[in-house]
């Protein structure tokens, strides 16, 4: 009964410090107060610098830096906005495969409104954003309330949105005449493209929302522990619906940017395929598929790494097919590196166990 007496009906007996706990504290001291997220962000910035340096040297200098860095941001802007929506969905523990075709559908909607409503641009943009958000809401309703697996639900809507875009445009490219959109898509201020401004604004809002607001905080909770969150009284389904609407809205913004950049509705060109690149960027940025982890900043850094890689390889004359191979290789290496701590710890434990077993002549090895 000694343990029970200890637990006892009396107060005041504090259990001695747990050695495991203090080891944990010292490990935290070793890595400082840097969390895994911050370490990954730093690694991505370093990787970005290295890539730029390598391409800068390989392309013999000045040409790469300067204007080309602007080009990297410019080409990554649309993808970046899509990736912001994607990372929020993935932090919530889901996945949105439909973002690319959603963006395409939005371009079609914008073009049709412009065509039939005498070039009413504000109306076209509002309709475009609404279409994107509504498309996101359909995903959200399917995943949160009908409990369809997110991959399956958004794979279905990926196809449906693409079909809808083709129906609306009859499969044709539709030209959009708007000097405002054209300026937005191709112009710049102080040599910074307007598209990059949009990206910066979207990223700033998303970072603030995810880091500082109650809603963002709960998206992390819902992704990291849906059951625990539900039992704690958090309305998990609403948050799931919410992240898909946000993702749809981001895809819509990207769609409007795309119309500006190309001057046409693009049901397929430039929009379809965005989803996979966006997911790649999010994974590069340290967000897992299991939810509850990751950052908006990481995803954006992932986008920049991808565009730098594309841009640099193109600049030094590597055939474009190799760009795809390089992207895949990079993703694999990055994901392996992010988990290297876990692998090392396990390996060390396994090796130690084998040594112990060998010393004690464990029967296990003898068994046929």
């Amino acid at each position: 009964m000694s343990t029970l007496a200890e637990a006892g009906k009396h107060n005041g007996d504090i259990v001695a410090p747990d050695p495991q706990a203090s080891a944990l504290d010292s490990r935290r001291r070793l890595t400082g107060t840097l969390s895994r997220d911050v370490l990954i962000d730093i690694a991505l910035v370093v990787a970005l610098g290295l890539l730029m340096a390598i391409f800068g040297v390989a392309s013999s200098g000045k040409e790469f830096l300067g204007t080309n860095i602007v080009a990297i941001f410019d080409s990554g802007a649309i993808l970046g906005v899509v990736a912001v929506g994607e990372v929020i969905v993935m932090i919530a523990g889901a996945l949105d495969i439909s973002v690319g075709s959603n963006a395409g559908l939005v371009t079609a909607a914008v073009a049709e409104v412009m065509l039939h409503q005498r070039n009413d641009l504000p109306l076209a943009i509002v309709v475009g954003l609404l279409v994107g958000a509504l498309a996101g809401a359909i995903n959200g309703l399917a995943v949160a309330y009908l409990r369809v697996n997110a991959v399956i639900a958004t794979l279905a809507t990926y196809s449906a949105f693409l079909g809808a875009a083709l129906l609306v445009t009859n499969g044709n490219q539709v030209g959009v005449v708007s000097s405002f959109l054209a300026t937005l898509g191709t112009g710049s201020a102080a040599s910074v493209p307007y598209l990059v401004f949009i990206l910066v604004v979207v990223v700033a809002i998303a970072m603030f929302a995810m880091r500082s607001t109650l809603a963002g905080h709960r998206v992390y909770a819902v992704g990291g522990g849906p059951t625990a969150s539900r039992l704690a009284g958090i309305r998990v389904q609403r948050y799931l619906l919410g992240v898909f609407v946000v993702s749809g809205l981001c895809a819509a913004v990207a769609g409007v940017m795309l119309v500006g950049q190309t001057g046409t509705a693009q049901p397929t060109e430039g929009s379809v395929g965005l989803e996979l690149t966006a997911i790649t960027a999010v994974l590069l940025g340290g967000t897992g598929l299991t939810g509850g982890t990751g950052t908006v900043l990481g995803a954006v850094l992932g986008v920049l790494v991808l565009s730098t890689l594309d841009n640099g390889l193109l600049l030094i004359g590597v055939p474009s097919f190799w760009q795809e191979v390089a992207t895949g290789g990079l993703l694999l290496v990055a994901v392996l590196l992010q988990d290297v701590g876990g692998h090392r710890a396990r390996w060390r434990a396994v090796r130690a166990a084998r040594r112990r077993a060998a010393r004690s002549g464990a029967a296990m090895a003898v068994r046929p």
Binding site: L214, A215, G233, G291
Partner: protein, 255 residues
């Protein structure tokens, strides 16, 4: 702490069940169960399938009874979700703990009840305040804990249980439900966790604990409730009951 289930009493019970029944297909998990829980620690014991967990699930809003009602301070309440149960002051600690693995201790303690401040209509979370309050709460749990910024993933089973208990204490729950809180713990951590539970009961909270360890229950509980085949079969006084008595209540006659 007198006046237990069935005994006439002038004080209205904090938590009570009136004629609760719950069936799963042809199995009657609960069969017309009426009980009252008063401040202090009440232990529920019974064989597997006796209905202990079903009773707790109804109180925590996870299951809805087919018949009967739950009463808080004598008033019937509708507990159709975990949220509803929490709102009337029932705090449940689930067997699998219900913590968010990817979050820190502090954020788990405040899960669903984050400290926020309003700026320009936006609800912003106050991380520093949550950490401060959490660190303070952790000093009361009698078990060595790292800083409240530490991730729950890095904690031992006992430490996790302590986090869940700190959460219950922090929010001044009127009723705390525990489903085998020490099932997965070593002896030292078991002692620590039971110490926390005992502290709560001594402070006058109504604590209801399901457990399998009979000697532990006899030692620790103020009141006992024995269930068998979906019914409450006995409410023995732990000070005067023997292990043999308990076993007999649980399985029927030993002869």
């Amino acid at each position: 702490m007198s006046g237990f289930a069935g005994e006439p009493s002038v004080v209205v019970a904090r938590l009570a069940a009136a004629h609760l029944s719950k069936r799963y297909g042809h199995v009657a998990a609960l069969n017309d169960v009426s009980v009252e829980f008063r401040p202090g620690l009440t232990g529920i014991i019974g064989d597997n399938g006796a209905g202990k967990s079903t009773l707790l699930k109804i109180f925590s809003g996870v299951e809805v009874p087919d018949e009967g009602a739950v009463l808080i301070d004598g008033e019937p309440v509708l507990l159709d979700s975990a949220r509803a149960s929490r709102r009337v002051g029932i705090e449940s600690l689930y067997q699998d703990l219900a913590l968010v693995e990817t979050m820190s201790i502090a954020h788990n303690i405040f899960l669903g009840r984050e400290i926020t401040h309003r700026i320009a209509g936006l609800r912003l979370i106050d991380r520093r305040k949550m950490r401060q309050v959490a660190d303070e709460a952790l000093t009361k749990v009698r078990i060595a804990m790292p800083s409240s910024r530490t991730g729950v993933r890095q904690l031992s089973g006992g430490q996790r249980q302590a986090v869940a208990l700190a959460r219950a204490m922090r929010f001044g729950a009127r009723v705390v439900l525990l489903d085998e809180p020490t099932a997965a713990l070593g002896p030292r951590e078991t002692a620590a966790v039971l110490g926390i539970v005992r502290d709560m009961a001594d402070r006058g909270e109504t604590v209801v604990m399901v457990g399998h360890n009979l000697p532990q229950m006899l030692e620790l509980a103020d009141n006992l409730l024995v269930m068998r085949a979906g019914r409450v079969v006995a409410t023995p006084d732990p000070r005067t009951t023997t292990l043999r008595d308990l076993t007999e209540f649980m399985v029927g006659s030993l002869d």
